[in-house]
Amino acid sequence: MIEKSRSLLQAGALQTDGGLGGWLAIAYLETGRPDIYLSRSEFRAKVYQYAAVLQQLAVKPGDLVVIAHTQNLESIFAFWGAMLVGAVPSMFPTLTEKLDAAVYLDNMEELVELSRVRLILTTNDFAPLLAERVPCRVVGSAVLQQGDLVGEFVPVYTPTGEEIAFLQHSSGTTGLQKGVALSHRAVLNQLTSYSEVIGLNGRDVVVSWLPLYHDMGLIAGFLLPLVAGIPLVLMSPFDWVRHPALLFRGIDSYRGTLCWLPNFAYNHSARRIRERDLAGLSAESMRLFINCSEPVRAESHEMFLERFGAIGVQREMLGVSYAMAENTFAVTQTEPGWPVRLDVVDQAALEELGEAVLVEEGRVGAVVKVSCGRPIPGTEIRIVNNVGEPVAERQVGEVAVRSNCMLSGYYKRPDLQPFQDGWYLTGDRGYLAAGELFVIGRSKDLIINAGKNIYPQDIEAIVNEVPGVHAGRVVVFGVPDEREGTELIVVVAEVEANILGVDTAERKEINRRIRQEVARRSMVSAAYVTLVEPRWLLKTSSGKIARGANREKWLESKE
């Protein structure tokens, strides 16, 4: 099905007869509410309705349409509706009650100006507020739902393979957002290769709670099933995180077979689903849970197996993929139906010499690394040293990628050149062994918290402005957490010494404000906030706050 398509407009879910699966396009699950079903013909009618309104709003081919909606079906209809009229849609996080509206509006304003956004689609409540701030048109849901008043939509637009289909925005916290521009051809190449590798077939059903503005949610948890024409069982990330059993209810009710999850979700599910919420549910229909978006931990898989073995989860169902928005999605995938390969290597040799030396399991200093599998067809990887030369097998270096599903570029950012000699340098460190990729960390200070990429500088800038914190005397870093299966965010800030001793009310206030400001202005929470006396933080010889050294110092102080 996918191979024959020339553009994403020929999606299986839009055909009443084509595609792999049956009549169901999407089932939407929500805690405490009945499920919503959408057949393919209903899905098509909705998408056409939205396309008709966009046409009436004078949206033209090539126009950038930002969808900043609470995750629901409307975002999906709008996304496909925009593509049908030749516009370039991009999903964006919406304003939630936890976020600071002023900061969110600043970011939106910047996005609209830099990327020349033509139209923003959002909720009815938020549309007037946003409309006052941005120099482009903003419409709420009510406008889009009037499609039946507009008249019949006839799809006539035919994009070329090279045309930009949509943008994926990098999940940065604050500051400039980079729009990853992907062509129809690149996306179709990715979907074709990836479907082949995971053995996608007409009996597959995708179950997903992932946010649609994230590459894993957008490609694997949305485009792949709808383009292939297999059912998508969807839920909101906000709902799932509070009620994690919902995922298993979706798998059980719709005989789910495929599910992509970031590593923390294995821990969250294993630790926080109550027995009562799992009663009577089965996961025997599953083919693959694919761990993706953050470093994979063998312990997380073990925890998941131990907890859900009783309802049918088996080791062979636990796969891994290494993916990034710049390659549309997957770079590698482990083989379905086989246990993931584990590499037991010497930690010291890995960290100090950059060599993955095999050692016996259980030996002192041994560490287990989980394979990410082999590159998917059409994608090549190589490991390079700091001058860009390929290194030998089992030598650690930066992961470089070249493929037929790469980004066309960063949207309206000719200053950012993604390629070096045709290769995209990922910033991730890893090694190759017998053709399989093992990712061991990042070249940069990036923190990956629950699948979200966080730049410590962004959080430091927020904390710096909290009254009582000594400006410029803040450090933020990530620490791996066994229990959560992800990196947690640590804030260490210098304050007046007397606050630490006597004035507990003020200390509490600063602590509270730091946590509150981080939550309101970024999309993450600070797990640890440690206030320290002046001159506690270590500096480099050039006078900068030394992130790594302070991390070590903090970890020692916790012991």
């Binding site: 405490g32 919902l246 109550r274 009562r276 602590n511 509150q516 939550a519």
Partner: protein
């Protein structure tokens, strides 16, 4: 166990396990989730703890930010569950 004991147990659990700072003086009506003190995952963790510790099962539709944002709200919900 009376209401005050339930509240103190919850307070200790939240500061030690969810805020990860036992010295934090959590007030009874402080917005724990809206104030950014804990992540929304913590609601699921709280559901597990309340069932293990107090034998009270709070169904998913009640585990929401609106209904479980403060220590007072959580305590009242546990007490209501124990009364049933």
């Amino acid at each position: 166990m009376d209401e005050q004991e339930v509240k103190e147990k919850l307070r200790r659990f939240i500061t030690a396990e969810l805020i990860r700072d036992e010295s934090y003086e959590l007030e009874d009506d402080e917005g724990i989730i809206t104030g950014g003190l804990m992540d929304s995952f913590a609601l699921a963790e709280l559901g597990v703890y309340v069932e293990d510790e107090f034998g009270v099962y709070i169904p998913d539709p009640d585990l929401t930010v609106d209904k479980m944002n403060t220590l007072n709200q959580m305590t009242a919900r546990v007490m209501a569950g124990r009364g049933m």
